[in-house]
Amino acid sequence: MKMVVASEREQLPVAAARAGDADAWAALLARFRLPLYAYVFELVHHEQAALDIVQESFINAARHIGTLRDDDKFASWLFNIAHQKCIQHWRRVRPQEIAIDPQDEDLPDFEPGPRDLLIRKEQEAEFMRLLDQLAVAHRAVLLLYFVEDFSLEEIARITGAQLGTVKSRLHYARKAFKKLFEENES
């Protein structure tokens, strides 16, 4: 089965959803429900909180879809709503997590890598373990990159970070994964 990702610029029924069409909302739910949940769960690590955040994000999206100017940006807009809700959740539960933001420095442009990564079955558990070990800010960037294949600009918009910061975070995450797979290979 072919995975549909945002970069392919699929036609989403955003205009119909704005008009209050239930079928359009069903299509948007079917498309984004699971990726959004996966993103949120990997950030908050709490099932009920993740379910609540996803539900609230869709309700907020339905309430404010009239303010969305560019229909092509629906995916990044929806993920941004969820990201903001994750931050609110951290503020309530683990305020120290938000402060975790490793040093960002000027780095060369991010080279494609983790996106093209193919992981063997025996490496899957290790991959997820490594993802969990990353700092929240790095994990968020990498998840958005892996799950929805968002562009660097879109990731910057979702996370509210500078473009340079996003590049830097992806660079560190990529280095960490490279190390993991090199270790496994040897």
């Binding site: 429900r33 949940y37 990997e42 379910l51 193919l118 079955k121």
Partner: protein, 143 residues
């Protein structure tokens, strides 16, 4: 071999049944409601203005036009009066002329002489600032 996306989504497939609780009908209803709310706000402002125009302005349009004309006339008159009160260039030049100033001074002196010393003294003496009872006593003595 799997992509990271497949692994991450695969890890959460079991949550799909729980995520099914979010109903598209509910979301569509919310979207419709907020769209109507937005429309209602703009149409409400429009209808208030429209009502004011139709009920207060249109039936009495001649009266409003007359009132407006009167106000314009008053404003024009006010401006004209201000213009006429302002000294002209010739008048300003005359006040600066030393001959005119000396003539004015002479006229003032003549007027003072004609009025006499009492008038000038009375005019020169400052107003009593003492208590009122003392002032009354003085008046009584003079009479």
């Amino acid at each position: 071999m799997k992509t990271p996306r497949e692994i991450i989504l695969g890890r959460h497939r079991s949550a799909e049944t729980k995520l099914g609780a979010i109903g598209p009908d509910k979301l569509a209803a919310i979207a419709r409601e907020s769209a109507h709310a937005g429309e209602n706000f703009s149409t409400r402002i429009g209808s208030v203005f429209d009502g004011f125009w139709r009920e207060c302005i249109l039936p009495w349009r001649r009266a409003w036009a007359g009132l407006a004309a009167v106000w314009i006339a008053i404003f024009a008159l006010h401006l004209a009066a201000r213009e006429s009160l302002r000294p002209t260039g010739g008048e300003l030049a005359a006040t600066k002329n030393p001959q005119v100033l000396s003539a004015l001074r002479e006229q003032k002196q003549l007027l003072a002489q004609l009025l006499g010393p009492t008038a000038s003294a009375a005019a020169a003496t400052p107003k009593n600032s003492g208590p009122r009872s003392e002032q009354r006593r003085e008046l009584f003595i003079i009479m």
